[in-house]
Symmetry: C2
Subunit: 358 residues, 2 copies
């Protein structure tokens, strides 16, 4: 067994996703929403899941200044110094690197699991088992990515090709593949050799910092400076001044794909990155006509619809099919389920006309 | 010219229509809404239109006890005794008969024009001209109905067949025809001899009471009692006790269709009985893709939609066609335009489950 006293959880909760507009907003993004069957926010659910393995004292949340207070409210178990607020989002490599400096200062041998705050996970037990296996492999020095066994030829996810088995349940990751077209996705799934790239990683804090030094040396130098400033009690001002200068690079492209040998631990649990309202519909419990309606909602000759409205509001759908109808109180969206991705166009249009709050 | 000092207007505003649910409610029915291009409520618009011809002092509004206060607010020009509140709705014959007793007491020679409070009229000048012609004919003793020159083969309206000309612009009404099917409606319109039955009438107060005595003698007796009670200063309690016993009969079926010789005055103005959300869409000004959207609303690949939402609420429609989307604040309806009539099913279902307010 891994010594989980050395295990830290890093929850990435800085996203400002627009795909769940109008429910998700700049100041209340997706990770604070309850989507799918769970009444908890996605962030709260993510934290409670990982706390089965790693306690709050060893959990960091990286978020933005705008969202810090909401994170504190959602996760009162966390001490203030466990919440790292980025002055500005710079994608995942700086976020993870910065968290790694904090973790390594607390324990030079620490192993850390990095988890997006806004995904759906259906089976906590299988998930925790997978993380435990990942932590074990990472303790040996592996750069571990968590792959999800695909259940359909999804074209909305990246894939990981699985190579030889290194240890029981731990494999070499042969390559990362961008979102495929339908045909390739079907081949991937049929082959049995591909996993969905979940965006969850496990590695020693020291090892990921080494990799950053090697592959993103500019970022590595800055992180070195943050570490020194932190030891001198002056981290906040240095971060505030310089964070915007960090390269906006993802951990996937900036590090994992450049590392020669990455390990992958396959997980067999229901998982979704909740990329659009369509996935919320897929994950919610539906009535006999495949509708998801708020409590008290009425459907007449209506099927395949997803409706969301503030508590107490009556929603009535007559003769409509496969629609997403979302009432956030101050805004109302109606879009066919298959076009749910297009809400980003609305958000872009609103930002263009200066309607930032919407 | 008719002596319009003898003309009274009776506005029927007791309806509790359900076709504009969720905007229309039991306690805020259609006549209090602004539908179509006019910002005024339908009731207010009806009153202001007729006041071009007949002043508020000679205007009565018949409504229900539930709605009396709202009528007072909408029409502060009216003295309290010009608002007749029915304890319970009994269709149009009792409503008009009761109003006629009031009018006749004020002036035994009075002529009255009876107007629904919840219709759309596009051209006030043409409308007032038509009413004036109707008042003139009614002064001679005619039972006058106002017919609208049809502009399409509408199957949602009743029709009146026009006979010989009695006076300039006044014709014999040969017969009343119920809502026809498509084929008959087309024949009616092609023939040029049919008008839409608008539900507006003009007659001497004394003449309509005579007709009631003849064709609905039970109602006639009760109205006689109301008149006597009113003269004795005791009308309110007699009405409260007995109104529910009056026969619920329409003026069309109960009287007009039974009278041998009815006159019809054709009107050539835009008119709609606003029978459903579809008519609101038809009458509203639409954007280049035939959408009716609230201020600030956004349509992306959306056409032919009618959307209504509380002021300040952002409505975004993506990739949807020919929908009615109505947000009343506490309820939300989505229905294809062509099924807009079916909102009655929702209202029936809500009343069944005891949700009277919705």
């Amino acid at each position: 067994m891994t010594d989980t006293d050395k295990a830290y959880a890093i929850i990435m909760a800085g996203g400002s996703g627009t795909r769940f507009w109008p429910l998700s907003r700049r100041d209340r993004p997706k990770q604070f929403l309850s989507l799918g069957p769970d009444a908890r926010s996605l962030l709260r659910a993510t934290a409670e899941r990982v706390w089965d393995l790693i306690p709050p004292e060893r959990t960091f949340v990286v978020t933005s200044e705008l969202l810090r207070e909401q994170v504190e409210k959602e996760l009162p178990e966390l001490e203030a110094d466990r919440i790292l607020a980025e002055p500005v989002g710079r994608n995942t490599a700086p976020c993870i690197g910065w968290a790694a400096t904090h973790v390594k200062r607390l324990d030079p041998d620490a192993v850390m699991t990095v988890l997006p705050a806004d995904h759906y996970i259906g089976d906590t037990e299988a998930y925790v088992d997978t993380l435990r296996r990942g932590l074990q492999a990472a303790t040996h020095g592996d750069y571990v990515t968590i792959g999800i066994r695909p259940t359909r030829a999804e074209t909305g996810y990246g894939y990981i090709e699985v190579g030889s088995e290194l240890d029981p349940g731990v494999f070499r990751a042969r390559r990362f593949v961008e979102k495929p077209n339908r045909q390739r996705a079907e081949q991937f799934v049929a082959s049995g050799c591909f996993l969905w790239n979940s965006g969850m990683f496990v590695f020693l804090a020291s090892r990921i910092l080494e990799a950053i030094d090697k592959h993103l040396p500019g970022l590595g130098e800055q992180l070195q400076r943050y570490d020194e400033a932190a030891r001198a009690g002056d981290e906040a001002s240095v971060v505030a001044e310089t964070y915007a200068e960090l390269p906006a690079v993802s951990i996937d492209h900036g590090i994992m794909e450049k590392i020669g040998s990455v390990s992958v631990v396959p997980g067999s649990f229901d998982w979704s990155d909740l990329g659009s309202w369509t996935s919320a519909w897929e994950l919610s419990s539906r009535d006999e006509r495949d509708n998801v309606l708020p409590e008290g909602g009425i459907g007449v000759d209506a099927s395949g619809n997803y409706a969301w409205a503030p508590e107490g509001k009556l929603v009535a759908l007559i003769g409509v099919e496969d629609l997403v109808v979302v009432d956030s109180g101050d805004a109302l969206l109606v879009v066919p389920r298959e076009r749910a991705q297009d809400v980003r166009e609305i958000v872009a249009a609103l930002r263009e006309r200066g309607d930032q709050q919407k």
